[in-house]
Amino acid sequence: MAEPSRWIRLHRTRAIAAKDLRVELRGRVLLNQVIPFSVLVLVLFGFAVDDDGIAQRVAPGLIWMATLFSLLVMVQRTFAVEAADGALDSLRVAGVDPTVIFWGKAMALAVQLAVLEIVLFAAAIVLFAPTLRVSGVALLAATWIVSTAGLALVGTLYGGLTAGIQGRETLLPLLVFPVVAPVLIGATRAVESGLGTTGAAVSEGWPWIGLLTVFGAAFAAGGTLAFGPLIDD
Protein backbone atom coordinates (compact mmCIF):
# COMPACT_ATOMS: atom_id res chain seq x y z
CA MET A 1 0.00 0.00 0.00
CA ALA A 2 1.25 3.45 -0.91
CA GLU A 3 -0.27 4.94 2.22
CA PRO A 4 1.28 8.36 2.80
CA SER A 5 3.35 8.53 5.94
CA ARG A 6 2.16 10.33 9.03
CA TRP A 7 4.61 13.11 8.30
CA ILE A 8 3.22 13.74 4.82
CA ARG A 9 -0.34 13.70 6.13
CA LEU A 10 0.54 16.26 8.76
CA HIS A 11 2.21 18.38 6.12
CA ARG A 12 -0.86 18.20 3.87
CA THR A 13 -3.16 19.08 6.78
CA ARG A 14 -1.11 22.18 7.40
CA ALA A 15 -1.12 23.00 3.69
CA ILE A 16 -4.94 22.89 3.61
CA ALA A 17 -5.21 25.02 6.74
CA ALA A 18 -2.75 27.50 5.26
CA LYS A 19 -4.76 27.58 2.01
CA ASP A 20 -7.98 28.41 3.88
CA LEU A 21 -6.28 31.10 5.92
CA ARG A 22 -4.74 32.57 2.76
CA VAL A 23 -8.22 32.72 1.19
CA GLU A 24 -9.36 34.64 4.29
CA LEU A 25 -6.38 36.98 4.24
CA ARG A 26 -7.06 37.84 0.59
CA GLY A 27 -10.82 38.22 0.95
CA ARG A 28 -10.92 39.63 4.50
CA VAL A 29 -14.47 38.31 4.95
CA LEU A 30 -13.89 37.57 8.63
CA LEU A 31 -12.39 40.96 9.31
CA ASN A 32 -14.76 43.06 7.25
CA GLN A 33 -18.03 41.17 7.71
CA VAL A 34 -18.13 38.45 10.37
CA ILE A 35 -16.43 40.31 13.22
CA PRO A 36 -18.56 43.46 12.78
CA PHE A 37 -21.64 41.22 12.62
CA SER A 38 -20.73 39.43 15.85
CA VAL A 39 -20.09 42.69 17.73
CA LEU A 40 -23.42 43.94 16.41
CA VAL A 41 -25.08 40.85 17.88
CA LEU A 42 -23.61 41.80 21.29
CA VAL A 43 -24.91 45.34 20.97
CA LEU A 44 -28.37 44.06 20.05
CA PHE A 45 -28.32 41.72 23.05
CA GLY A 46 -27.51 44.81 25.11
CA PHE A 47 -30.66 46.50 23.77
CA ALA A 48 -32.74 43.38 24.45
CA VAL A 49 -31.49 42.96 28.04
CA ASP A 50 -31.77 46.70 28.79
CA ASP A 51 -30.34 46.52 32.31
CA ASP A 52 -26.70 47.12 33.25
CA GLY A 53 -26.70 44.69 36.15
CA ILE A 54 -28.31 41.87 34.18
CA ALA A 55 -26.15 42.57 31.12
CA GLN A 56 -23.01 42.29 33.22
CA ARG A 57 -24.29 39.04 34.70
CA VAL A 58 -25.19 37.42 31.37
CA ALA A 59 -22.22 38.83 29.40
CA PRO A 60 -20.37 35.44 29.28
CA GLY A 61 -23.43 33.78 27.72
CA LEU A 62 -23.84 36.60 25.22
CA ILE A 63 -20.22 36.21 24.08
CA TRP A 64 -20.83 32.54 23.32
CA MET A 65 -24.22 33.12 21.66
CA ALA A 66 -22.60 35.66 19.35
CA THR A 67 -19.78 33.16 18.70
CA LEU A 68 -22.28 30.46 17.73
CA PHE A 69 -24.10 32.74 15.27
CA SER A 70 -20.76 33.70 13.74
CA LEU A 71 -19.68 30.06 13.62
CA LEU A 72 -22.59 29.31 11.26
CA VAL A 73 -21.63 32.18 8.97
CA MET A 74 -18.00 31.09 8.95
CA VAL A 75 -18.76 27.43 8.27
CA GLN A 76 -20.98 28.37 5.37
CA ARG A 77 -18.25 30.63 4.02
CA THR A 78 -15.48 28.03 4.32
CA PHE A 79 -17.50 25.42 2.42
CA ALA A 80 -18.95 27.84 -0.12
CA VAL A 81 -15.35 28.55 -1.13
CA GLU A 82 -14.77 24.83 -1.69
CA ALA A 83 -18.02 24.04 -3.49
CA ALA A 84 -17.87 27.07 -5.79
CA ASP A 85 -15.36 25.69 -8.29
CA GLY A 86 -15.49 22.05 -7.22
CA ALA A 87 -12.35 22.55 -5.18
CA LEU A 88 -13.36 19.81 -2.73
CA ASP A 89 -13.68 17.31 -5.59
CA SER A 90 -10.31 18.39 -7.00
CA LEU A 91 -8.68 17.75 -3.65
CA ARG A 92 -10.24 14.28 -3.53
CA VAL A 93 -9.19 13.53 -7.11
CA ALA A 94 -5.67 14.67 -6.24
CA GLY A 95 -5.65 11.85 -3.69
CA VAL A 96 -5.94 13.88 -0.51
CA ASP A 97 -7.33 11.80 2.34
CA PRO A 98 -10.71 13.15 3.59
CA THR A 99 -9.38 12.98 7.15
CA VAL A 100 -6.61 15.34 6.12
CA ILE A 101 -9.16 17.72 4.57
CA PHE A 102 -11.24 17.57 7.75
CA TRP A 103 -8.35 18.41 10.06
CA GLY A 104 -6.95 21.07 7.73
CA LYS A 105 -10.24 22.89 7.46
CA ALA A 106 -10.98 22.51 11.17
CA MET A 107 -7.58 24.03 12.01
CA ALA A 108 -8.16 27.03 9.77
CA LEU A 109 -11.65 27.49 11.22
CA ALA A 110 -10.27 27.24 14.77
CA VAL A 111 -7.71 29.98 14.10
CA GLN A 112 -10.40 32.30 12.73
CA LEU A 113 -12.78 31.50 15.59
CA ALA A 114 -10.03 32.15 18.13
CA VAL A 115 -9.48 35.62 16.69
CA LEU A 116 -13.22 36.32 16.66
CA GLU A 117 -13.61 35.23 20.30
CA ILE A 118 -10.82 37.56 21.44
CA VAL A 119 -12.56 40.49 19.75
CA LEU A 120 -15.94 39.48 21.21
CA PHE A 121 -14.45 39.10 24.67
CA ALA A 122 -12.89 42.56 24.50
CA ALA A 123 -16.15 44.02 23.18
CA ALA A 124 -18.11 42.41 26.02
CA ILE A 125 -15.68 43.87 28.58
CA VAL A 126 -16.19 47.31 27.04
CA LEU A 127 -19.97 47.06 26.60
CA PHE A 128 -21.06 45.18 29.71
CA ALA A 129 -18.15 46.00 32.08
CA PRO A 130 -17.57 42.70 33.87
CA THR A 131 -14.38 42.90 35.93
CA LEU A 132 -11.33 40.82 35.11
CA ARG A 133 -9.40 39.09 37.86
CA VAL A 134 -5.88 37.68 37.70
CA SER A 135 -6.78 34.34 39.28
CA GLY A 136 -9.25 33.62 36.47
CA VAL A 137 -6.93 34.18 33.52
CA ALA A 138 -5.72 30.58 33.28
CA LEU A 139 -9.33 29.34 33.31
CA LEU A 140 -10.34 31.84 30.62
CA ALA A 141 -7.40 30.81 28.44
CA ALA A 142 -8.21 27.10 28.85
CA THR A 143 -11.88 27.74 28.00
CA TRP A 144 -10.83 29.70 24.96
CA ILE A 145 -8.67 26.87 23.63
CA VAL A 146 -10.92 23.86 24.26
CA SER A 147 -14.20 25.52 23.21
CA THR A 148 -12.66 26.85 20.03
CA ALA A 149 -11.38 23.39 19.15
CA GLY A 150 -14.76 21.78 19.85
CA LEU A 151 -16.73 24.36 17.86
CA ALA A 152 -14.32 24.20 14.90
CA LEU A 153 -14.49 20.39 14.77
CA VAL A 154 -18.30 20.27 14.92
CA GLY A 155 -18.63 23.15 12.46
CA THR A 156 -16.34 21.48 9.92
CA LEU A 157 -18.07 18.12 10.29
CA TYR A 158 -21.61 19.43 9.76
CA GLY A 159 -20.40 21.91 7.15
CA GLY A 160 -19.05 18.93 5.17
CA LEU A 161 -22.36 17.13 5.59
CA THR A 162 -24.34 19.96 4.03
CA ALA A 163 -21.67 21.16 1.57
CA GLY A 164 -22.91 21.63 -1.95
CA ILE A 165 -26.56 20.95 -1.13
CA GLN A 166 -29.44 23.24 -1.96
CA GLY A 167 -31.05 24.73 1.13
CA ARG A 168 -28.07 24.17 3.43
CA GLU A 169 -28.26 27.74 4.71
CA THR A 170 -31.40 26.93 6.64
CA LEU A 171 -30.47 23.35 7.52
CA LEU A 172 -27.05 23.99 9.05
CA PRO A 173 -28.33 25.87 12.15
CA LEU A 174 -30.92 23.17 12.84
CA LEU A 175 -28.21 20.50 12.76
CA VAL A 176 -25.40 22.38 14.51
CA PHE A 177 -27.13 24.21 17.37
CA PRO A 178 -28.39 21.12 19.23
CA VAL A 179 -24.91 19.59 18.97
CA VAL A 180 -23.02 22.62 20.28
CA ALA A 181 -25.39 23.16 23.22
CA PRO A 182 -22.90 21.49 25.62
CA VAL A 183 -20.24 23.97 24.49
CA LEU A 184 -22.59 26.88 25.15
CA ILE A 185 -23.39 25.59 28.63
CA GLY A 186 -19.83 24.62 29.53
CA ALA A 187 -18.01 27.62 28.07
CA THR A 188 -20.51 30.08 29.53
CA ARG A 189 -20.24 28.60 33.02
CA ALA A 190 -16.45 28.49 32.79
CA VAL A 191 -16.20 32.14 31.72
CA GLU A 192 -18.64 33.09 34.49
CA SER A 193 -16.29 31.45 36.98
CA GLY A 194 -13.26 33.06 35.37
CA LEU A 195 -14.80 36.53 35.62
CA GLY A 196 -16.78 35.93 38.78
CA THR A 197 -19.90 37.52 37.24
CA THR A 198 -22.33 35.30 39.15
CA GLY A 199 -20.23 35.19 42.31
CA ALA A 200 -18.79 31.83 41.27
CA ALA A 201 -15.32 30.84 42.43
CA VAL A 202 -12.59 30.16 39.86
CA SER A 203 -12.32 26.53 41.00
CA GLU A 204 -15.97 25.92 40.00
CA GLY A 205 -15.01 26.53 36.38
CA TRP A 206 -12.51 23.69 35.98
CA PRO A 207 -15.03 20.79 35.77
CA TRP A 208 -16.44 22.53 32.70
CA ILE A 209 -13.03 22.43 31.05
CA GLY A 210 -13.19 18.67 31.53
CA LEU A 211 -16.58 18.52 29.82
CA LEU A 212 -15.41 20.72 26.94
CA THR A 213 -12.34 18.53 26.49
CA VAL A 214 -14.47 15.38 26.34
CA PHE A 215 -16.71 17.12 23.80
CA GLY A 216 -13.76 18.11 21.63
CA ALA A 217 -12.24 14.62 21.80
CA ALA A 218 -15.58 12.98 20.92
CA PHE A 219 -16.05 15.09 17.81
CA ALA A 220 -12.39 14.83 16.85
CA ALA A 221 -12.85 11.05 16.76
CA GLY A 222 -16.32 11.32 15.17
CA GLY A 223 -15.10 13.71 12.49
CA THR A 224 -12.03 11.63 11.67
CA LEU A 225 -14.24 8.58 11.12
CA ALA A 226 -17.27 10.21 9.52
CA PHE A 227 -15.92 12.93 7.26
CA GLY A 228 -14.73 10.49 4.60
CA PRO A 229 -18.11 8.77 4.05
CA LEU A 230 -19.83 12.17 4.14
CA ILE A 231 -17.95 13.88 1.33
CA ASP A 232 -17.24 10.71 -0.67
CA ASP A 233 -20.07 10.10 -3.12
Binding site: L175, V179, P182, I185, G186, R189
Partner: protein
Protein backbone atom coordinates in the same frame (compact mmCIF):
# COMPACT_ATOMS: atom_id res chain seq x y z
CA UNK B 1 -64.19 -8.22 -6.53
CA UNK B 2 -62.12 -5.08 -6.26
CA UNK B 3 -58.97 -6.96 -7.12
CA UNK B 4 -60.31 -8.54 -10.30
CA UNK B 5 -58.55 -7.41 -13.47
CA UNK B 6 -60.82 -5.10 -15.44
CA UNK B 7 -60.10 -3.34 -18.71
CA UNK B 8 -56.46 -4.41 -18.79
CA UNK B 9 -55.66 -2.88 -15.41
CA UNK B 10 -53.54 -5.35 -13.45
CA UNK B 11 -54.49 -5.77 -9.80
CA UNK B 12 -52.16 -3.99 -7.40
CA UNK B 13 -51.42 -4.50 -3.75
CA UNK B 14 -51.07 -1.67 -1.27
CA UNK B 15 -48.86 -1.66 1.81
CA UNK B 16 -51.22 -3.82 3.86
CA UNK B 17 -50.69 -7.55 4.31
CA UNK B 18 -51.85 -10.21 6.73
CA UNK B 19 -49.13 -9.15 9.16
CA UNK B 20 -50.20 -5.49 9.24
CA UNK B 21 -53.84 -6.52 9.62
CA UNK B 22 -52.96 -8.61 12.65
CA UNK B 23 -50.76 -5.93 14.21
CA UNK B 24 -53.27 -3.20 13.41
CA UNK B 25 -56.18 -5.09 14.95
CA UNK B 26 -54.22 -5.98 18.07
CA UNK B 27 -53.02 -2.38 18.41
CA UNK B 28 -56.59 -1.06 18.08
CA UNK B 29 -57.81 -3.52 20.73
CA UNK B 30 -54.93 -2.54 22.98
CA UNK B 31 -55.67 1.16 22.60
CA UNK B 32 -59.38 0.62 23.37
CA UNK B 33 -58.41 -1.42 26.42
CA UNK B 34 -55.90 1.25 27.49
CA UNK B 35 -58.49 4.04 27.24
CA UNK B 36 -60.95 1.99 29.29
CA UNK B 37 -58.42 1.26 32.01
CA UNK B 38 -56.64 4.59 31.93
CA UNK B 39 -59.75 6.76 32.00
CA UNK B 40 -62.32 4.61 33.80
CA UNK B 41 -61.22 1.52 35.71
CA UNK B 42 -57.91 2.51 37.26
CA UNK B 43 -58.11 4.52 40.51
CA UNK B 44 -56.81 8.06 41.06
CA UNK B 45 -53.38 8.31 42.70
CA UNK B 46 -53.07 9.34 46.36
CA UNK B 47 -50.65 12.22 45.62
CA UNK B 48 -51.20 12.95 41.94
CA UNK B 49 -54.94 12.26 41.98
CA UNK B 50 -56.59 12.27 38.52
CA UNK B 51 -53.53 13.65 36.73
CA UNK B 52 -51.89 10.24 37.03
CA UNK B 53 -54.13 9.14 34.12
CA UNK B 54 -51.90 11.14 31.78
CA UNK B 55 -49.10 8.75 32.68
CA UNK B 56 -50.81 5.84 30.90
CA UNK B 57 -50.34 7.55 27.53
CA UNK B 58 -47.25 9.63 28.34
CA UNK B 59 -44.94 6.83 29.49
CA UNK B 60 -45.79 4.42 26.61
CA UNK B 61 -45.32 7.13 23.97
CA UNK B 62 -41.97 8.08 25.50
CA UNK B 63 -40.98 4.40 25.47
CA UNK B 64 -41.94 4.04 21.80
CA UNK B 65 -40.06 7.23 20.88
CA UNK B 66 -36.87 5.94 22.51
CA UNK B 67 -37.41 2.52 20.96
CA UNK B 68 -37.89 4.09 17.52
CA UNK B 69 -34.73 6.19 17.76
CA UNK B 70 -32.85 3.16 19.03
CA UNK B 71 -34.03 1.17 16.00
CA UNK B 72 -32.93 4.05 13.75
CA UNK B 73 -29.46 4.06 15.30
CA UNK B 74 -29.06 0.28 15.01
CA UNK B 75 -30.39 0.18 11.44
CA UNK B 76 -28.07 3.07 10.47
CA UNK B 77 -25.09 1.26 11.96
CA UNK B 78 -26.06 -1.91 10.07
CA UNK B 79 -26.31 0.04 6.82
CA UNK B 80 -22.83 1.47 7.31
CA UNK B 81 -21.17 -1.69 8.63
CA UNK B 82 -22.65 -4.36 6.36
CA UNK B 83 -20.70 -4.63 3.12
CA UNK B 84 -23.95 -5.04 1.14
CA UNK B 85 -25.07 -1.50 2.13
CA UNK B 86 -28.67 -2.63 1.81
CA UNK B 87 -31.21 0.16 1.41
CA UNK B 88 -33.62 -1.93 3.49
CA UNK B 89 -31.72 -0.85 6.61
CA UNK B 90 -31.81 2.75 5.46
CA UNK B 91 -35.58 2.64 4.91
CA UNK B 92 -36.13 1.01 8.28
CA UNK B 93 -34.03 3.77 9.87
CA UNK B 94 -36.00 6.48 8.06
CA UNK B 95 -39.43 4.98 8.80
CA UNK B 96 -38.55 4.47 12.45
CA UNK B 97 -37.16 8.01 12.83
CA UNK B 98 -40.34 9.57 11.43
CA UNK B 99 -42.53 7.58 13.81
CA UNK B 100 -40.12 8.36 16.64
CA UNK B 101 -40.52 12.09 15.96
CA UNK B 102 -44.32 11.68 16.03
CA UNK B 103 -44.26 9.86 19.37
CA UNK B 104 -41.64 12.19 20.83
CA UNK B 105 -43.81 15.15 19.85
CA UNK B 106 -46.85 13.79 21.67
CA UNK B 107 -44.62 12.78 24.60
CA UNK B 108 -43.42 16.36 24.99
CA UNK B 109 -46.97 17.77 24.82
CA UNK B 110 -48.43 15.28 27.31
CA UNK B 111 -45.36 15.70 29.52
CA UNK B 112 -45.94 19.45 29.66
CA UNK B 113 -49.62 18.96 30.53
CA UNK B 114 -48.73 16.45 33.23
CA UNK B 115 -45.92 18.70 34.49
CA UNK B 116 -48.30 21.63 34.80
CA UNK B 117 -50.57 19.54 37.02
CA UNK B 118 -47.96 17.81 39.18
CA UNK B 119 -45.11 20.36 39.31
CA UNK B 120 -47.05 23.55 38.63
CA UNK B 121 -44.98 24.39 35.53
CA UNK B 122 -45.05 23.28 31.91
CA UNK B 123 -41.29 22.95 31.70
CA UNK B 124 -38.33 22.47 33.98
CA UNK B 125 -34.64 22.43 33.00
CA UNK B 126 -34.16 18.88 34.12
CA UNK B 127 -31.50 16.82 32.33
CA UNK B 128 -33.93 14.16 31.14
CA UNK B 129 -36.43 16.68 29.80
CA UNK B 130 -33.81 18.82 28.11
CA UNK B 131 -31.98 15.98 26.42
CA UNK B 132 -35.35 14.57 25.29
CA UNK B 133 -36.19 17.91 23.67
CA UNK B 134 -32.77 17.90 22.00
CA UNK B 135 -33.37 14.36 20.76
CA UNK B 136 -36.60 15.60 19.16
CA UNK B 137 -34.88 18.53 17.43
CA UNK B 138 -31.94 16.36 16.33
CA UNK B 139 -34.28 13.91 14.63
CA UNK B 140 -36.23 16.75 12.98
CA UNK B 141 -32.86 17.67 11.45
CA UNK B 142 -32.29 14.02 10.53
CA UNK B 143 -35.62 13.90 8.65
CA UNK B 144 -34.74 17.17 6.88
CA UNK B 145 -31.41 15.68 5.77
CA UNK B 146 -33.24 12.63 4.38
CA UNK B 147 -35.28 14.94 2.16
CA UNK B 148 -32.21 16.69 0.71
CA UNK B 149 -32.14 14.71 -2.51
CA UNK B 150 -29.22 13.09 -4.28
CA UNK B 151 -29.03 9.39 -5.02
CA UNK B 152 -30.62 6.87 -2.67
CA UNK B 153 -27.22 5.70 -1.44
CA UNK B 154 -26.09 9.29 -0.84
CA UNK B 155 -29.21 9.81 1.23
CA UNK B 156 -28.63 6.57 3.10
CA UNK B 157 -24.98 7.26 3.90
CA UNK B 158 -25.52 10.88 4.90
CA UNK B 159 -28.44 10.14 7.18
CA UNK B 160 -26.80 7.06 8.70
CA UNK B 161 -23.71 9.10 9.64
CA UNK B 162 -25.98 11.78 11.08
CA UNK B 163 -27.80 9.20 13.21
CA UNK B 164 -24.44 7.96 14.52
CA UNK B 165 -23.44 11.53 15.40
CA UNK B 166 -26.75 11.85 17.24
CA UNK B 167 -25.74 8.87 19.36
CA UNK B 168 -22.58 10.84 20.21
CA UNK B 169 -24.42 14.11 20.85
CA UNK B 170 -27.27 13.10 23.15
CA UNK B 171 -25.16 11.72 26.05
CA UNK B 172 -23.03 14.88 25.92
CA UNK B 173 -26.12 17.10 26.10
CA UNK B 174 -27.57 14.99 28.89
CA UNK B 175 -24.38 15.07 30.91
CA UNK B 176 -23.77 18.80 30.43
CA UNK B 177 -27.31 19.73 31.50
CA UNK B 178 -27.01 17.46 34.53
CA UNK B 179 -23.73 19.07 35.55
CA UNK B 180 -25.28 22.51 35.00
CA UNK B 181 -28.39 21.81 37.10
CA UNK B 182 -26.42 20.17 39.89
CA UNK B 183 -24.44 23.40 40.32
CA UNK B 184 -27.61 25.52 40.39
CA UNK B 185 -29.73 23.77 42.95
CA UNK B 186 -31.51 26.95 44.01
CA UNK B 187 -33.22 27.31 40.65
CA UNK B 188 -35.09 24.01 40.64
CA UNK B 189 -38.84 24.26 41.01
CA UNK B 190 -40.72 23.02 44.03
CA UNK B 191 -42.20 19.72 43.02
CA UNK B 192 -44.08 16.85 44.52
CA UNK B 193 -41.32 14.43 45.39
CA UNK B 194 -41.18 10.94 43.99
CA UNK B 195 -43.07 9.04 41.38
CA UNK B 196 -46.60 7.85 42.00
CA UNK B 197 -46.94 4.66 44.01
CA UNK B 198 -48.38 2.22 41.55
CA UNK B 199 -50.81 -0.35 42.86
CA UNK B 200 -51.81 -3.48 40.96
CA UNK B 201 -54.46 -2.06 38.67
CA UNK B 202 -52.41 1.05 37.84
CA UNK B 203 -49.37 -1.04 37.03
CA UNK B 204 -51.52 -3.27 34.85
CA UNK B 205 -52.95 -0.25 32.98
CA UNK B 206 -49.44 1.01 32.33
CA UNK B 207 -48.42 -2.44 31.13
CA UNK B 208 -51.40 -2.53 28.73
CA UNK B 209 -50.32 0.86 27.45
CA UNK B 210 -46.75 -0.29 26.77
CA UNK B 211 -47.96 -3.35 24.84
CA UNK B 212 -50.56 -1.38 22.85
CA UNK B 213 -48.11 1.34 21.87
CA UNK B 214 -45.41 -1.15 20.88
CA UNK B 215 -47.91 -2.90 18.61
CA UNK B 216 -48.92 0.47 17.19
CA UNK B 217 -45.25 1.22 16.49
CA UNK B 218 -44.70 -2.10 14.70
CA UNK B 219 -47.82 -1.57 12.60
CA UNK B 220 -46.83 1.98 11.62
CA UNK B 221 -43.21 1.06 10.87
CA UNK B 222 -44.20 -1.78 8.54
CA UNK B 223 -46.52 0.50 6.59
CA UNK B 224 -44.08 3.41 6.48
CA UNK B 225 -41.16 1.21 5.48
CA UNK B 226 -43.20 -0.20 2.58
CA UNK B 227 -44.30 3.28 1.56
CA UNK B 228 -40.61 4.21 1.38
CA UNK B 229 -39.97 1.19 -0.88
CA UNK B 230 -42.73 2.55 -3.15
CA UNK B 231 -41.26 6.06 -3.12
CA UNK B 232 -37.81 4.75 -4.01
CA UNK B 233 -39.21 2.49 -6.72
CA UNK B 234 -41.16 5.38 -8.25
CA UNK B 235 -38.11 7.60 -8.15
CA UNK B 236 -35.96 4.99 -9.92
CA UNK B 237 -38.81 4.12 -12.28
CA UNK B 238 -39.49 7.79 -13.02
CA UNK B 239 -35.86 8.26 -14.00
CA UNK B 240 -35.97 5.18 -16.26
CA UNK B 241 -39.19 6.32 -17.89
CA UNK B 242 -37.78 9.78 -18.52
CA UNK B 243 -34.65 8.25 -20.11
CA UNK B 244 -36.72 5.98 -22.38
CA UNK B 245 -38.85 8.94 -23.42
CA UNK B 246 -35.82 11.08 -24.13
CA UNK B 247 -34.20 8.31 -26.23
CA UNK B 248 -37.40 7.76 -28.19
CA UNK B 249 -37.56 11.48 -28.87
CA UNK B 250 -33.95 11.56 -30.04
CA UNK B 251 -34.52 8.52 -32.26
CA UNK B 252 -37.60 10.13 -33.78
CA UNK B 253 -35.71 13.30 -34.59
CA UNK B 254 -32.78 11.33 -36.01
CA UNK B 255 -35.10 9.13 -38.14
CA UNK B 256 -36.97 12.13 -39.54
CA UNK B 257 -33.96 13.46 -41.37
Amino acid sequence: MANAPAGGITPTHDTGTRATQVFGTLAALGVAWLCAFGLLFSPADRDQRESVRIMYVHVPSAWVAYLAFGVTAVASALYLLRSSHSLTWDRLAGASAEIGVLFMGVTLVTGMLWGRLSWGVFWTWDARLTSTAFLFVTFLGYLAVRRLGGTQHQRAKRSAVLAMLGVLEIPLVHFSVRLWRSLHQDATVARIEGDPDLDGLMLFSLFVGLIAFTLLYVWLVIHRQRALVLEDALEAHGLDAALVERRAEAALQGGGR
